[in-house]
Subunit: 207 residues, 2 copies
Amino acid sequence: MKRDEILAAAVGVFAQHGFRGSTTRRIADAAGVNEITIFRQFGSKEALIREAMQHMTQSAGLERLPDVPVDPERELTAWSEAFMQHLRLRNSIIRKTMSELEERPEMSECASYVPRQASSDLCAYLAALKREGWVTGKFDPKPGAAMLMGAIFSDAMGRDMMPDVFPQPQEKAAQVYAGLLLLALGVETGAPRTTHKQNKRPKQLSA
Amino acid sequence: MKRDEILAAAVGVFAQHGFRGSTTRRIADAAGVNEITIFRQFGSKEALIREAMQHMTQSAGLERLPDVPVDPERELTAWSEAFMQHLRLRNSIIRKTMSELEERPEMSECASYVPRQASSDLCAYLAALKREGWVTGKFDPKPGAAMLMGAIFSDAMGRDMMPDVFPQPQEKAAQVYAGLLLLALGVETGAPRTTHKQNKRPKQLSA
DNA sequence: TGTGTAAGTAAGTGACTACTTGCATTTTAC
DNA sequence: GTAAAATGCAAGTAGTCACTTACTTACACA
């Protein structure tokens, strides 16, 4: 069964050319398959693309943040790096999907699944940071999460286009963004910038 | 001369449908013009789209930040709001352009003009903040600028799609992002979250 | 040996695409 | 008022698109 090869090819061609540019001929060639096989297997180009996108989304798998923060800088940096790499590896297809969303709203669920999950995970972590006494003062996790995710997303989408407006080197960018957020929240980092340690330590060191 | 009407129509149709979806017939209909007039005026669809994009880019006009910071929170908030509104008003066409950039690299200059200018302006402002003594400790303006711009960009692009992952209300979002950056840099805001006023005041209050 | 299934080949359909040609009509400039 | 420029109309060209029909090949399994 060439189904899976066709699905994989469809994802690749869509990432390169978008919906309108993903001709059935191109997909068939990329899959090493006769064009007709596509129609026999999927019925129509639209159905194929839809199934290909869902297939891709489901095989995602995102790094999770711990329920109880132990080392915020390390944990948030690791998560940010993983999230950024996830986005960077898929930046072509993400750009295409975002661009076609107005014309094909049925892709909306596919498109928003990963960022939604990442957002709620990050929000929960920031809330835990507060709950466990890492951050003083009142603060709302959502803007912080939006800020970090926004920075990571923009970096992953825009660095190819304008490498000079993003922090160098690329490998340190996620860490830098995470560090700035922690600074904004007043969480002590490994290399503290302020000299007054005012944070309560967490109630428990191991979860 | 219907040139300008055709250019405006081309921008609108491109924003809705992208390059491949911008058929000459659609543009002609949107402009209230015979399809042939397009070819007589611009020669080809490609030339028309190119000229339309340049025409749009040149008529931009971005809010500038002051050379010498006086009221960082107010100034940065105003700039962030203006930048966000600029992006939000154009989010369809930005999405399309980013998506087509790999297939049509000649649009690259058009696409990166505004963000490049915004980035260098913001970097200069953050450097001035440091120079004028608003922010203590060593810090690099570029990551901060990338973080704020990234948050604003992502908000402007993604809020339609997933309103619930961004801070509410929409009107306060830019202010919130600007505030978080100032917090990260350790610049005192109007409603200070930390109790110790450690910043040197600026050398001059009026520029 | 026979049957069902997945795949291929060849040819074609109707709709749409960018773009052209020839000629008539309107608008603008002086 | 008239010439020139801009625009419109009708028709058509060559190419591409998604998708179809009719028939053939390869192979698994019973």
